[in-house]
């Protein structure tokens, strides 16, 4: 056998992903996800940590340009989170949807299923859950039943919204990035219609739903946060166990590394695609209802606050690992909450937080690329 045989594999029926040029969006995302899960302390801890610090330095420069001492701002942020009585509770409240959606993203990205549809699934879940718990005739049901039914409806709605993208991908070859993005906009439109028309409170002047107080989440062990944080805390070890010990987690990782081999030897990779989209969608739907019943009184037009987008960053900084997602989610929530009080004190523009998080993700992707190149050169 000569070398021309070994270098050129037989023409395949299934096209190999490497043969497409120009590189597709998914190919680039694939590299991002692969590097985020690279083994070793460098990729798992050093890159996100140094990136976060570097982003804070850049943020500090911007604060200094505004004429404020960055160190006093960062000091105030830390005070806001750790010394104020409600700081940590509020941080947990903000972290809850980030972690719930972020763990779903992490599972999907491990399988190299690049959904960005968390925001739409979150909104659809909130709408469906609210519609159920504010429907006529359910008000007499016990609170526990209402909560469970409401959360269940939200999970189902989010899962269907996510699963729709999976069906479109498996059946018609639609790009999951594009379809989940578009479904997010449809989800937002659905919310706007629902609070103006579908589930609007007829007695209210504003466009919002009836109050959902009958299904409001209890507080988290007497703290100033709601029980949803417990869901996030429980979800993390479950997801971790699934990845390490369950067949589904194995198939997720196998699909991410080599869908062709998974398909030929173990399980249909299309069905893994669908299952991670359904699960990620269900978690985002849950997050939507948790936020509605834990924080708000009614579902309103302004329910879309961007948790579904921010959770993408949380998943990547968290290295697509459940524990990492929890840490990253808490970190990002802490920055948000801490900055809220610092902002008032120093009269800073509120866009600084999103600017800093944007820098974090740029530095993480950049750092991963540098780390990958450094490992190759060794």
């Amino acid at each position: 056998m000569t070398d021309s045989d070994t270098r050129q594999p037989a023409p395949s029926v299934t096209p190999s992903p490497k043969s497409t040029w120009p590189p597709k969006l998914d190919g680039w995302l694939d590299a991002v996800a692969r590097r985020a899960t690279a083994e070793g302390i460098l990729s798992s801890i050093l890159v996100p940590l140094v990136s976060a610090l570097a982003a804070l330095v850049v943020g500090g420069v911007l604060i200094a340009i505004d004429g404020v001492n960055p160190l006093s701002v960062y000091g105030a942020i830390l005070q806001g989170v750790f010394t104020k009585s409600r700081g940590f509770s509020y941080t947990a409240t903000v972290a809850t949807p980030l972690v719930l959606i972020g763990v779903g993203y992490a599972l999907a990205y491990r399988a190299r299923v690049f959904t960005i549809g968390g925001e739409g699934q979150y909104l659809v879940g909130a709408v469906a859950g609210t519609a159920v718990v504010t429907a006529g005739g359910v008000g007499d049901l016990p609170r526990v039943v209402l909560i469970v039914v409401g959360l269940g409806a939200a999970i189902v709605a989010g899962a269907l919204w996510g699963g729709l993208a999976g069906v479109l991908a498996n059946r018609f070859g639609a790009s999951i990035v594009i379809s989940t993005l578009m479904l997010s906009f449809i989800g937002d439109s659905l919310l706007q219609w629902a609070v103006r028309d579908g589930i609007r409170d007829p007695d209210s002047y504003n466009a919002n739903s009836r109050p959902i107080s009958a299904a409001a989440l209890p507080s988290f062990f007497g703290q100033k946060t709601h029980l949803g944080f417990l869901f996030a805390l429980v979800l993390v070890p479950i997801a971790w166990w699934l990845i390490r010990r369950h067949r589904w987690g194995f198939r997720i990782d196998a699909r991410g590394h080599n869908p062709g081999t998974l398909n030929a030897n173990e399980f249909s990779s299309a069905r893994v695609t669908l299952s991670v989209l359904v699960v990620a969608g269900g978690l985002a739907g849950l997050a939507g209802m948790v936020e509605t019943t834990g924080v708000n009184v009614r579902l309103g037009q302004e329910a879309s606050v961007g948790y579904g987008w921010d959770a993408i960053i949380v998943a990547l900084i968290g290295r697509l690992h459940p524990l990492g997602v929890l840490v990253a989610g808490l970190g990002m929530a802490g920055l948000t909450i801490g900055f809220e009080s610092a902002q008032r004190q120093f009269e800073l523009p509120s866009s600084l937080v999103s600017l800093i998080t944007a820098f974090v993700i740029i530095f993480v992707v950049w750092g991963d690329a540098i780390a990958a190149r450094w490992k190759e050169s060794r």
Binding site: D5, T6, N258
Partner: protein, 499 residues
């Protein structure tokens, strides 16, 4: 070209090859897979450079092997895989290849350029539709027109008829003749004897050496060419089996009227304990046959069954449970997951719903790795760290450990060193002797001759055979080059192959 040599690593692709193309002649370059045909043409086109030897074009010695300057001398290579921009029309593709000035010409001018070329050379191509919507024949004609548009004096066609229908292939050879009559030199790479007969001169390459050097086509019979192509010496790296089955056991693996892509209505029965070798030149339907039999792709029609039970496509766990093992032709695309560890890869196809913890998984993998002699740092090692031979042994360990009743082995020795290839072959023969039905799709005839109880030749999606031991090399070689297919066509009163 004088005594051109080229090696890739330890493999010698070309070893002192002389080659000449003369104006007004069609020169056939014949050879099996990996004989070095394409490498030789790539060097002539400046896409690759030789390690030794000289290349002259119209008396001018080539010093730097770069495509641009060599193209300027009038050498054009029409590659096996189309290099048109699929979204552009015929005229746009021509403009892209040879822009005139910085501005794009108006559509009418570009269209006129295509029409002029079409009229001049009689190669019909539709303009105004994207190249992706043209038929394969049209795309090929467009590729040739593009070469002629640059006024190519030496035209190299790499397996031009591989993708064409018989009628189209015949037409293409007619065009080649017309171009040669205009004083151009043509080189046609092929592995089909019928096409060689339409040429003037022939060079046959075998494993980088010239078996026939620049002979007149009329001076050789088909049998001469076929034996030059496949060789007569049985210098295979694989130990030949000492005993062969004289009669096959009860049918185990049954293929009925399977069609997929190039493969049309293919049927085959393999008995228990029998090794059936599928010989043939790559691209005659091997990859489709592999995809359909392994259940990786659903066949368009037909059925694959094992011990009477039909095998469903897209359900690998059932396939394994039914007793069909699968050794894929590309183990890195369909056999192994590089970034996962060895024990994970061994578990593929039988992963438990709740998996044992990692130390237990590694412990469970050890006996199998030892038994199949996978030399590694241990079950925790990444599969991507394995050498080719050990990677293939890992595939064997997974596929053969549970005593399957049938094995689909696709190029199981591809890319392996002789020792590893021999080990793999020995293991497969042992499986057959234990009663397993083995279907061995191979590229190297020597290998198939060494192990098979029966050989079938796959040519253009159809099986020709059976050939039984003692094997007639020459007959199998002729069938691989399409002779059996030509005869069958003539016998049924159909169109004879190209003259």
């Amino acid at each position: 070209m004088r005594s051109v040599s080229r090696r890739f690593g330890e493999t010698v692709a070309l070893d002192g090859v002389d080659f000449e193309a003369r104006p007004g002649e069609i020169h056939a370059l014949l050879g099996a897979n990996g004989a070095g045909k394409t490498t030789l043409m790539r060097i002539l086109a400046g896409l690759d450079s030789p390690d030794a030897g000289t290349v002259e074009v119209f008396g001018q010695r080539i010093e730097h092997f770069e495509p641009g300057p060599i193209r300027a001398l009038g050498v054009a290579l029409v590659q096996q895989h189309f290099t048109l921009v699929p979204t552009l029309t015929a005229s746009e593709n021509l403009v892209l290849a040879r822009p005139e000035g910085a501005l794009l010409p108006p559509g009418r001018t570009a269209g006129a350029r295509v029409r002029r070329l079409v009229e001049q050379f009689g190669l019909e191509v539709r303009d105004g539709v994207p190249a992706s919507q043209l038929s394969v024949g049209e795309r090929q004609r467009l590729e040739i027109l593009r070469a002629l548009d640059a006024d190519a004096k030496i035209l190299l066609l790499d397996e031009p008829t591989a993708v064409l229908t018989d009628v189209e292939a015949e037409r293409l050879l007619g065009v080649a003749r017309a171009l040669a009559d205009q004083g151009r030199a043509l080189v046609v790479i092929t592995h089909r004897l019928a096409e060689v007969e339409a040429c003037d001169r022939v060079t046959v390459l075998r494993e980088g050496i010239e078996a026939i050097s620049d002979g007149a086509v009329g001076g050789y019979t088909r049998a001469d060419l076929a034996s030059a192509m496949i060789g007569t010496d049985t210098s295979g790296t694989i130990t030949a089996r000492t005993t062969r089955r004289t009669e096959a056991g009860p049918v185990c693996l049954r293929v009925r009227d399977v069609s997929l892509g190039r493969v049309s209505s293919l049927s085959l029965d393999i008995g228990e304990g029998e090794i059936v070798g599928i010989a043939g030149v790559d691209g005659n339907g091997q990859s489709e046959l592999e995809a359909a039999l392994s259940g990786r792709s659903a066949a368009e029609s037909g059925e694959v069954s094992i011990s009477g039970e039909s095998i469903a496509a897209g359900d690998p766990r059932s396939r394994r449970a039914q007793g069909l093992a699968y050794i894929p032709s590309d183990r890195y695309s369909w056999g192994l997951i590089g970034p996962m560890d060895l024990s994970d890869n061994l578990e593929l196809g039988r992963v438990l719903p709740i998996r044992p913890n990692r130390p237990a998984r590694h412990k469970a993998a050890r006996p199998s790795l030892d038994h199949w002699d996978v030399r590694t740092a241990g079950p925790h090692a990444k599969t991507s760290s394995l050498s080719g031979g050990n990677a293939q042994k890992l595939v064997l360990a997974r596929e053969l450990d549970e005593h399957p009743s049938a094995v689909l082995a696709c190029y199981p020795t591809r890319g392996l060193d002789p020792e590893a290839a021999d080990t793999v072959a020995t293991r497969l023969v042992a499986a057959a002797e234990a009663g397993c039905a083995v279907l061995w799709i191979g590229a190297e005839l020597d290998e198939l001759l060494a192990v098979s109880d029966r050989i079938e030749v796959l040519y253009d999606g159809t099986l020709f055979g059976p050939y039984l031991p003692p094997f007639d090399r020459a007959a199998i070689g002729l069938a691989m080059a399409g002779d059996a297919a030509d005869r069958a066509r003539t016998a049924t009163g159909g169109e004879p192959g190209p003259p």
